[in-house]
Amino acid sequence: MSQSQHPLPNRIKLIWGISAIGSLLVLLVVTGLFWLAQTYWDWAAWLTVTMLVVAIGEPIIETALIPYRYRFTRYMISDTAVEMQAGFIFKKRVAIPIARVQNVTLNAGPLLQWRKLSKVTVATASTTHTIEGLELTTAEQLRDQIMQLAREARHDQN
């Protein structure tokens, strides 16, 4: 029962870093649009400046927080429950018994696929909980474990 808490796979940091670059690009494009609006439709200049500050500031903060985000995100899978923990300033901890799980969704975008990781979403009858990235083998193991439990004469609980 009392298995230790695991950190997410180390490679997730790289993916978070790339996604921060992604937000930088998107925000820069938005800033560019504001600049175009400023030159052609005489929008206020401070809008463009604010947007530029956000575009540069947000990815920097996002990148700077990666070590913390990594350090304080934990998950634990035992025979009976999945537990997740995240956050330092606002620490959250949630317990989802496997018997309550309705379905497990493995979801991997191109980046996660490239690093052989998968996002795991666990849904109960009323809530959904996401682990941002798990080793593909761990994710599949979790899914199979839950499917196994579902097969074992589980009388409908709702």
Partner: protein, 478 residues
């Protein structure tokens, strides 16, 4: 009844009503433009929408009650075929509009727990009562003997289960219930919203008129609107809860109510997600509360917040003794809820949060309309009281090993949730770094409610209290 059948032709009225509800502007346009040529052009379209479409859609709906599943076919261009095994049914709802009563017909809706929003899976507009009775019969058989198909096959009713408990709304509680509803407050807010939407010059004219009147007249006018809204809700509730009757038959609870539309909802006990006692501010004064069943379907959407009202008005001392005959797993007496609570020195945190939420809008409002300052300050007083109310009403405890009782105070409403272990979907703890120092924690218990999640949150418990519930849940919920 193993033949596929259509609903009674009177069900056409229902389809017609739906067409009128969706397309009524077309009717008005035709009436207004009856002289012009293009108004006449719309007539064929109207015939299509108000005559042919309802006819076809009525024709397209058919159903079959087989011993293993309820089959439902619908759709004109895209055909839908639903097969619902009886064990999956959450609620069976029967509604009888007064005009269907002489023909012994009723509307039957069947809901499962699937996340399909807003709509019941099966809705039969006009069928004879034996359809619902047969569905009930098969469902009971399916729920008691889940795998044995031989017993489920026999169509003749098994021994009818005995009535175990009944509750009827008597005169005194009925008046207590309808007179203390807070349903008029949203109506008042809507009225206020309409006032805000009025054109500016009208308001200015009204303002200059009002300036001549004394403040007393203004207050009387406001009160008159409030009283009218309140009377309206009283009448609505009297109609909706007309001849209210709750019955427990075997392992099912049946609630019937309504004057113009008789509404009967049947729920198996095992489908109840939680029981909630709810007490608004007026009901706190006269010491009554309402017991509701939280369900995983939207059958009771017309009731207060999707909950099926089981006991509209019970006095506090009688609450648990009245509830227990209906729901076995509830405690026989009022449990002591002091195990989870906000300790004395920490109540100000909830007061502070309530004030923090209120202070920004109040500051902005005061900046723009300084003359109304006193009124806005009243909001702060209310927020202060609300924070204290929330702190004083936070409570909870475990009753035995399988039942968690939680009490919260939101918006001057005291709510007590009785949640069986098996129905808690997940439990969450939250703690900010400042709370780490003071050993405090927020506890959230998630329960299915209608088609969504009901998060029952107890804030600023001690870390020990919150963690004890978390650990209880993690180790026992298997």
């Amino acid at each position: 009844m193993t033949k596929t059948k259509r609903t009674h032709p009177l069900g056409l009225l229902d389809h017609l009503a739906k067409s009128v509800k969706n397309w009524w502007p077309l009717l008005i346009i035709i009436l207004a433009q009856s002289q012009s040529w293009w108004g006449k052009l719309l007539i064929p379209a109207a015939i299509l929408i108000f005559v042919i479409w309802p006819l076809i859609s009525w024709w397209s709906i058919s159903y079959r009650v087989t011993p293993t599943a309820l089959e439902f076919h619908s759709g004109i261009l895209v055909r839908h075929h639903e097969h619902i095994p009886y064990a999956r049914i959450q609620t069976v709802q029967r509604k009888q509009w007064f005009y269907l009563a002489p023909f012994h017909l009723e509307e039957v809706s069947v809901e499962t727990a699937s996340h399909e929003d807003g709509k019941p899976e099966v809705r039969l507009a006009a069928v004879t009562p034996d359809v619902a009775a047969l569905i009930e019969h098969y469902r009971q058989a399916a729920n008691t003997v889940p795998t044995d198909s031989s017993t489920a096959n026999s169509a003749e009713p098994v021994i009818a289960p005995a009535v175990q408990a009944t509750y009827a709304l008597t005169t005194r509680p009925r008046w207590q219930f309808v007179l203390t509803s807070t349903g008029f407050i949203p109506i008042l807010l809507v009225a206020l919203g309409i006032y805000g939407k009025l054109p500016h010059n009208l308001i200015e004219r009204l303002g200059s008129d009002l300036a001549h009147l004394s403040g007393l007249f203004l207050i009387i006018g406001g009160l008159a609107i409030a009283v009218a809204a309140w009377l309206f809700t009283v009448v609505m509730l009297l109609i909706r809860y007309f001849h209210f009757r709750a019955t427990r038959i075997g392992d099912q609870i049946q609630v019937a109510k309504g004057l113009f539309q008789r509404n009967t909802i049947t729920v198996p006990l095992q489908r109840i997600q939680a029981v909630r006692f709810k007490q608004n501010v007026f009901r706190q004064w006269i010491g009554i509360q309402t017991a509701q069943l939280l369900l995983a379907s939207r059958a009771a959407a017309e009731d207060n917040n999707d909950d099926l009202v089981l006991l509209p008005a019970v006095t506090l001392p009688q609450s648990y003794t009245a509830l227990r005959p209906f729901v076995d797993w509830t405690p026989a007496t009022s449990p002591d809820l002091s195990a989870l609570s906000v300790t004395n020195g920490r109540r100000w945190l909830l007061v502070r949060n309530a004030l923090l939420i209120a202070v920004v809008p109040v500051a902005i409002a005061t900046w723009f309309w300084p003359t109304w300052n006193a009124l806005f300050d009243l909001v702060l007083v209310i927020a202060f009281g609300q924070g204290l109310f929330a702190a004083n009403n936070t409570g909870g405890s475990l009753v035995g090993h399988k039942l968690l009782v939680l009490r919260t105070g939101h918006w001057w409403t005291r709510e007590t949730y009785l949640v069986p272990l098996a129905k808690i979907q997940s439990v969450r703890l939250r703690q900010s770094i400042w709370m780490k120092r003071t050993h405090l924690m927020h506890l959230t218990v998630n329960v299915r409610h209608g088609n969504r999640n009901q998060a029952i949150a107890l804030r600023y418990l001690t870390a020990n209290q919150a963690e004890s519930i978390y650990d209880w849940y993690r180790t026992n919920a298997i």
